[in-house]
């Protein structure tokens, strides 16, 4: 009897740790990295490696400097670094990438208290900072090297035109201009399915996000849904960025609201806005609203009342 310890709940333990979840995310992103190597040449892989290394180094230095416990081994900085690199064109100079990494790790993650305390997705802020600072470098997309001749081109989204069905395979394989990690739809889908099979993410947010974006772009501008899904950063954003644990709602109903809302925002920006792509802004805006969505969709305790109704019941 002396070995019986009394402790507070939760008692159910799982073997999942931050480290192995992040490892799964990294594995899921590998197809995208490999695909980018084929499409854009070795520089794409090099940028990804540099960005991850810089993020880890920044996190290590900051935590040493601030005398905080080291959290480098949880691999989250590696994921952030990879995501930042996936969001830039292959021709981006390395120093610009480092600026993005600083914004992501120091500004958004560490200043707000490290992993779990960031209020928006760090990688997306990194992208946003780079986009506002270096507008020309960040929108000069070099077409796929290796498979097609390297030409400078816009993303298909900024020059839509009519979609021929032949182009479908082009979009699926990513043989068009764009950021390193957003062009190859097939690789992103493989990564996304891996995450869902490994139960790292639930498919609710990606499905709601992509579905509502298609629906609303079609309603607002009569856009071709296939084009809207496969061109631009929608898939990459839906699977790898919108599903970030820290900055997405906890409950299933909250996830639905979140997904539909950012899909709607993306559609509004794509159709009416001056930027061709709206995924970044939409996800960031959704991130900011997450605490409110969480409050609205609190889970009812078994046999209990919805929070807020208790007061009314008590008044009666």
């Amino acid at each position: 009897m002396s070995k019986l310890t009394v402790s507070v709940s939760p008692h159910i333990r799982s073997s999942r740790t931050t480290q192995n979840i992040m490892l799964d995310v990294i594995i899921a992103m590998l197809p995208v990295v490999i695909a980018s190597g084929f499409l854009f040449g070795p520089r794409a892989i090099l940028l990804t490696v540099i960005s991850s290394a810089v993020c880890v180094l920044l996190e290590y230095c900051w935590e040493k400097l601030m005398k905080k416990p080291l959290t480098v081994q949880d691999l989250s900085a590696v994921v952030t670094g990879m995501l930042v690199a996936m969001n830039v064109p292959v021709s981006t100079p390395v120093w610009m990438l480092i600026v993005g990494d600083i914004a992501a790790i120091i500004l958004v993650k560490q200043l707000f208290g490290g992993l779990g305390c960031n209020f928006v997705n760090p990688a997306l802020v990194g992208r946003l900072v780079m986009m506002f600072s270096f507008p020309s470098a960040m929108t000069t997309f070099t077409g796929s090297a290796g498979i097609v001749d390297a030409t400078t081109s816009a993303t298909p989204l900024s020059a839509p035109g009519t979609l021929v069905w032949d182009q479908f395979t082009t979009l699926l394989l990513g043989k068009h201009g764009g950021a390193i990690g957003e062009t190859c739809a097939l690789a992103i889908l493989i990564g996304g399915i891996y995450l869902i099979v490994r139960k790292v993410i639930k498919p609710i947010i990606p499905l709601c996000f992509i579905g509502s974006c298609c629906l609303f772009t079609f309603l607002f501008g009569g856009e071709n849904p296939i084009m809207q899904i496969f061109a631009g950063g929608l898939l990459c954003g839906a699977f790898f960025m919108a599903t970030d644990y820290v900055t997405s709602p906890i409950t299933n109903s909250g996830k639905v609201i979140f997904g539909v809302f950012i899909g709607f925002l993306t559609a509004v920006i794509r159709v009416f806005g001056s930027y061709p792509e709206g995924v970044t802004f939409a996800i960031l805006f959704g991130n900011v609203l997450v605490p409110y969505i969480n409050d609205l969709t609190l889970t009812r305790p078994l046999g209990g009342l919805f929070p807020g109704k208790e007061k009314k019941e008590a008044a009666k």
Binding site: W95, V99, L107, V129, F132, S133, F134, P135
Partner: protein
């Protein structure tokens, strides 16, 4: 003498109008893009603040309590008009850079705030020192932020190129950069004010009703008539 010095330095550090009292942030965010503009704005505001503080302090026994705000505004607007005319005549470039923010000093919270919180309750010399301290506190902050924003965001200081073309980080001189630098400046000042083992607690300006206040603060005024009466609410 030491007390007078304290009134002066209060405005620069412990009660810095921008970073601690959080007054007049709008012009700081908007004007701190170039160092020359920031310097002009800071000096213009310091001039208005010193003059209006002195005049309001002189008139504090004459101004009826009920219409004090309009009276303050009239005094402040006089000096702002003066500054505006001078700048327009002699420094047209600065006038273009400051734009609408120069006439807007009339409603700048720092000027009105100091008139209400300090000049209408203190003597002329104290009010002069307070105005000077607050004005310089504002100038230091806006120029400090502008140096960083112009250097990183545009690669120049006083229009002299320091960082070669193509290596500037544009976002710092845009609106988001303004907010970021503002936050960093605030954190830096509070970090410097934190003494060892004692945390600095910013004293946000009070309404001056020391009689009904329980806080034991440094600028407690005890000899004001009528302050101790508490109004009964029926």
């Amino acid at each position: 003498m030491k007390e007078k010095l304290k009134i002066f330095t209060n405005g620069i550090f412990k009660e810095n109008p921008v970073l601690i009292l959080l007054l007049g942030c709008c012009s700081v965010l908007a004007i701190s893009v170039t160092v020359s503009g920031a310097l002009g704005m800071g000096l213009a505001l310091t001039f208005v603040l010193v003059c209006s503080n002195v005049v309001i302090s002189l008139l504090r026994k004459i101004i009826p309590d009920k219409v004090r705000i309009p009276c303050f505004i009239v005094v402040i607007a006089t000096f702002v008009t003066l500054v505006q005319m001078i700048v327009e005549a002699f420094l047209p470039d600065l006038n273009n850079a400051l734009g609408v923010f120069l006439p807007l000093i009339v409603v700048n919270c720092i000027v009105l705030g100091r008139a209400e919180m300090f000049a209408s309750k203190h003597g002329v010399v104290d009010s002069f020192l307070d105005g000077l301290g607050m004005g310089l506190g504002y100038t230091f902050v806006i120029v400090g932020i502008a140096v960083i924003r112009e250097l990183i965001g545009n690669g120049t200081i006083f229009d002299q190129r320091i960082i070669p073309e193509g290596y500037q980080i544009g976002i710092i001189s845009q609106t988001p950069g303004g907010f970021m630098m503002f936050g960093f400046a605030m954190a830096l000042l509070i970090y410097c004010l934190n003494k060892k083992g004692k945390k600095f607690e910013p004293r946000i300006g009070c309404d001056g009703k020391c009689g009904s206040c329980t806080a034991n603060c440094e600028s407690r005024i005890t000899d004001l008539p009528g302050q101790d009466e508490t109004v009964e609410v029926k």
